[in-house]
Amino acid sequence: VLPYAQEITIMRTAVALLAAIGVAACAPTPPPAAPEPSPDDARVAAGAFESRYQPFPSTPTLIRGGTVMTAAGEVIEGGDLLLVDGRIAAVGRNLEVPAGARTIDAAGRFVTPGIIDTHSHLGVYASPGDQAHADGNEMTRPVTGHVYAEHAVWPQDPGFPRALAGGITSLHILPGSANLIGGRGVTLRNVPARTIQAMRFPGAPHTLKMACGENPKRVYGSRNQAPMTRMANIALTREAWIRAAEYRDQVDRWENGDRTGTPPTRNLELETLADVLRGRILIQNHCYRADEIANRLEIAREFGYSIRSIHHGVEAYKVADMLAEEGVGVSIWADWWGFKLEALDASNANAALTHQAGVTTVIHSDDAIGIQVLNQEAAKALAAGREAGIDISDDEALRWITANAAWTLGIEDEVGTLEEGKRGDVVIWSAHPFSVYARADQVFVDGALLHDRTDPARNPITDFELGIFSGEGN
């Protein structure tokens, strides 16, 4: 895995290159030699759909005297945290109050990094639920690498401010699991916004949703289409990667100066898949059963890509050693099970067992209620582990919903821990975050206080809820 900054540079270059190919492809008849795009053309085209996120205004803030759970290995009793210019300026004890800084007394309270959910469908299956809001599954063919969740996210989903009230500061929105290759996911800052571009996490890598098992074969098999079986689930997936490798080779040859023949035609689906093969897009793979998770590892081996995280992974504990060896993480529930056959062999010690095996373990929500209490979900998984006699510290379990989640999304250099230099995403909890009674009193995103439980004015309300029961439901 490339260092974060390097990865971003490569991604920007890639976007520019692909945009250049696009310009060529749009011409009615291919010119004898592909025109070199002017620097301006490339810049403008590359800017399309990029993040236009701007942090909310913040004032320097010192959070004093709380139990600071850094998710970086250290828990500081009576600790201070200083936020300046939207970033964490210092973490420690007895920090000095800079001139003009606001001071928040956190004595008796707990301070953690902003919570990160690696698996949400907010905005693509927005509330209120209706066919008109069902935008997460392009169930028209089983490989849809050309679609992007971000093109469907409705920023007015009332689920966003509710998640904020539960401490969620970053979240990853995915297409659904009807398709073998479902499309690109998007990582968001959880801020009120009019557009999705204004929520997009700057520089966060693109992701690709893949799925195996019952869902694709049910959706298409019931229409007498492929895939009808797990056999075709894999066959169609492999065929897609074969096409992707060919496309990558064509584009790379052209870009490397071998411009014989016609220039490659821009193909949105293969462009996504090729970027996976180039290591620029992180695979988030929905998969439940142990044997199928192993098959996913085989496909990745065959085509030379890596899976960032197995999502849902109800049987991940059975193959935890394999996942650890491959450096593949898991994004799993604390306790969901039984809703279908591939979700039968569950154990609520799943997270504890994968964690113990050395797998980068994440508790995800996949749910508009669960995302509001991800701290409780982690607590349940921790309790189940301790009941099984597995030794897991609070800090390690906190990483399941912070630092490990950040790694899963490739944003670990920016968020996920309370360390100097990181974005000022911070939650002050009324009690230990693994208590059912804990409430997120204050939530900061980039140092800006966006949610304050004691101040109705600092409680974002979506347009949808205005004039209905504003604030009451929150």
Binding site: P128, L353, I369, K380, V436, G473
Partner: protein, 433 residues
């Protein structure tokens, strides 16, 4: 209207089953030293709960422990009645997406067909599987009793209350039927065409139930009815008070329509779902109608739930409404106490939240001897290693009808098997279970 007393009608419409007092000798247990939440008075510190043959026989600080009693040391622990979930499908659903294992609803036609929405005579009880793997998963989380209810339908049918241990249904049923489950509002208005039509159809059915007698029916001296004879007989059991009408309604206006109907026909009403109940709490309290609440529901998930809030239970309780809580789940009914903990986090008192899992459901569903730890109580007892409403608290012991159940489920067995992963080739060795 004595028809419901006749053998024929009772047999056809599903006879009333009530738990007999456990009579079989099941041993004597003394749970000592814990903080005992009797739910009939203040908690007793360092109290003893003495259980004999399925019943609690004594509770207090100075209980003499008979010779031969099995002693359970609960020092430093909390002792409560077994928790009751007021709305699950435990025993009725094994694997959600495997149709043959789902015994939730009667199907008589396409869902959009209005007649297929009326199944008052259907009772879930015969479909309950005492060997469901969901049962141990649920009870080792301290939930000893659940309402198992039908799923979806304008009149979905009748549910049952069961204890979560037993080889046969006879050993498990506490009350069957437990209520007539009805849905109004958005859930069915696309089928009936309008909310007003839903209420009209229900009213007409109740009128027909009033009119029907065996003699008029057998003579054919009646007009055409809106529902089958069995459906109307089942509804008569609601009208004569044998079971409550359990109406799922969410929008405040739908809840008020339900109250009006209950008042007009004099049946006992239990509200469930009830997302916007807090907005009409005073009307509900004045009508003396209890409400079953799922706490963790604060999204405007549909247009009938725009007023959704985590504070629903707390606000209702504060206004004097009797509240019971539910997980609203089946496989994860085990998360019932998380619901209660969140009710506390959102304004309900801890005591009220515990009552909403014990005494309140016992009162709503008519479960004598449930929800308390007092002499004569059915011995459903849970020993916790901390605050029972905290999600990190572990369960130490569970007793159901006076028997201790092992803290084992298929999930703990899978866990234990794979904790030896280093030795995976021996996982399937039966001698090494």
């Amino acid at each position: 209207m004595r028809i419901t007393r006749t053998l024929t009608a009772a047999a056809l419409a599903g006879g009333l089953m009530l738990a007999a007092a456990p009579a079989v000798a099941q041993g004597t247990f003394a749970i000592t030293g814990g903080t005992v939440h009797t739910m009939t008075g203040a908690p007793i510190e360092g109290g003893t709960v003495l259980v004999r043959d399925g019943r609690v026989v004594a509770v207090g600080r100075d209980v003499s422990i008979p010779q031969g009693a099995v002693r359970i040391d609960a020092t430093g622990r909390q002792v409560t009645p077994g928790l009751i979930d007021s709305g699950t499908q435990v025993g009725l659903v094994e694997v959600g997406a495997v149709a043959g294992t789902v015994d939730r609803d009667m199907v008589t036609g396409p869902r959009e067909d209005l007649r297929s929405q009326i199944r008052a005579a259907f009772t879930v009880t015969d479909g309950i599987n005492p060997n469901s793997t969901v049962i141990p998963v649920t009870r080792i989380a301290g939930i000893t009793t659940v309402v198992s209810r039908p799923g979806f339908g304008l009149v979905a049918g009748q549910g049952a209350v069961i204890d979560l241990a037993g080889r046969t249904l006879d050993e498990m049923v506490v009350r069957s039927p437990s209520g007539m489950f009805v849905r109004i509002g958005e859930g069915v208005s696309p089928i009936t065409g309008a909310r007003g039509a839903t209420m009209m159809i229900l009213r007409e059915m109740l009128e027909d139930a009033r009119t029907l007698t065996p003699r008029t029916y057998e003579r054919g001296a009646v007009r055409e009815f809106t529902a089958s004879r069995l459906d109307l007989i089942a509804l008569q059991r609601v009208l004569n008070g044998e079971m409550p009408m359990v109406m799922e309604a969410h929008r405040a206006s739908d809840i008020l329509a339900a109250l009006r109907m209950a008042d007009d026909y004099g049946f006992r009403l239990v509200l469930t779902g009830a997302t916007e109940a807090w907005m009409v709490a005073d009307e509900i309290a004045a009508a003396g109608v209890p409400v079953v609440v799922k706490v963790m529901q604060n999204l405007p998930g549909s247009f009938e739930r725009l007023g959704a809030t985590f504070e629903n239970a707390a606000r209702l309780h504060q206004r004097g409404v009797r509240v019971a809580l539910t997980s609203g789940d089946t496989h994860n009914a085990r998360n019932l106490r998380q619901e209660a903990g969140n009710a506390v986090a959102h304004g309900m008192s801890w005591e009220a939240a515990l009552r909403a899992l014990t005494t309140e459901p016992a009162a709503i569903w008519g479960l004598d001897g449930y929800g308390t730890l007092a002499p004569g109580s059915v011995a459903n007892v849970v020993v916790w290693d901390g605050d029972p409403l905290e999600i990190m608290t572990a369960v130490a012991h569970v007793f159901i009808r006076g028997r201790e159940v092992p803290l084992v489920s298929r999930q703990t067995q899978l866990r234990d098997r794979y904790m030896r992963l280093d030795d995976y080739r021996s996982l399937y060795d039966r001698t090494q279970r």
